[in-house]
């Protein structure tokens, strides 16, 4: 079974802090994705990566950056956390451009 893990289930940070959200997959997938999910807005794509050291902006990249130094790991970085980045963050990976496998999510609260 594919396993996608996220470093934290719950996270509380202060405004202005630098925040790292880590995602690791164990199936040698090429593609990895970061989404945020907010009530009434559904899932929105922040960034994705089709290969190591490659990254592509999604629909809402502002205020975020990513790092993909190894194939199995895709990190989402909030350079200076703000309250409007309070959200549920979901990581996913896929072998092809079809089925995605999701991690359990990280619920981030920025105070």
């Amino acid at each position: 079974d594919v396993k996608v893990t996220q470093s934290s289930r719950y996270l509380v940070k202060r405004t202005g802090e630098k925040v790292f959200l880590e995602c690791v997959q164990d199936m040698d997938h090429e593609n990895m994705f970061w989404y945020r999910q907010d009530p009434g807005l559904g899932l929105r794509l922040i960034y994705f990566s089709y290969d190591v050291k490659m990254k592509e902006k999604g629909d809402i990249p502002e205020g975020y950056s990513v790092s993909r130094e190894k194939k199995e790991r895709f990190s989402l970085i909030l350079e200076s956390a703000s309250t409007n980045q309070t959200s549920m963050y979901l990581c996913a990976s896929s072998f092809d451009v079809e089925t995605q496998y999701f991690g359990p999510g990280t619920r981030l609260l920025v105070l």
Binding site: G42, L90, Q100
Partner: protein
């Protein structure tokens, strides 16, 4: 936005009844997928239907696709309380998700 739209936003049914959710999208697709999300968890892939398919079954799930109407439906037959979740359709590459249908199955 290319985001798909699920309809209804929320659905409440009795255990044993069938649940039908619809999805509409805007431009041509290669395939359409349905995912399920239990409260506060990640999404789980349910089924994928390709653009040249009209209907697909998986257990109690039945998915239809009408490319001329740019719409799909997900039918869950003989629903159970454990089917209570949010259901999302997703299209395009990379995947674009709708806002989901919240299904409540009352025992």
């Amino acid at each position: 936005s290319q985001q798909g739209e699920e309809d209804p936003q929320a659905l409440s049914i009795q255990e044993g009844e069938n649940a039908t959710m619809n999805c509409s999208y805007k431009t041509s697709i290669n395939n359409l997928q349905w995912y399920r999300q239990n409260s506060g968890r990640g999404l789980v892939h349910l089924i994928l239907i390709r653009s040249n398919e009209r209907e697909k079954h998986s257990g109690r799930l039945r998915v239809t696709l009408d490319t001329s109407k740019k719409s799909s439906s997900l039918l869950i037959t003989a629903s159970r309380a454990a089917d209570t979740a949010s259901y999302f359709c997703a299209t395009y590459t990379p995947l674009v998700f709708g806002k989901g249908t919240r299904l409540s199955v009352i025992a």
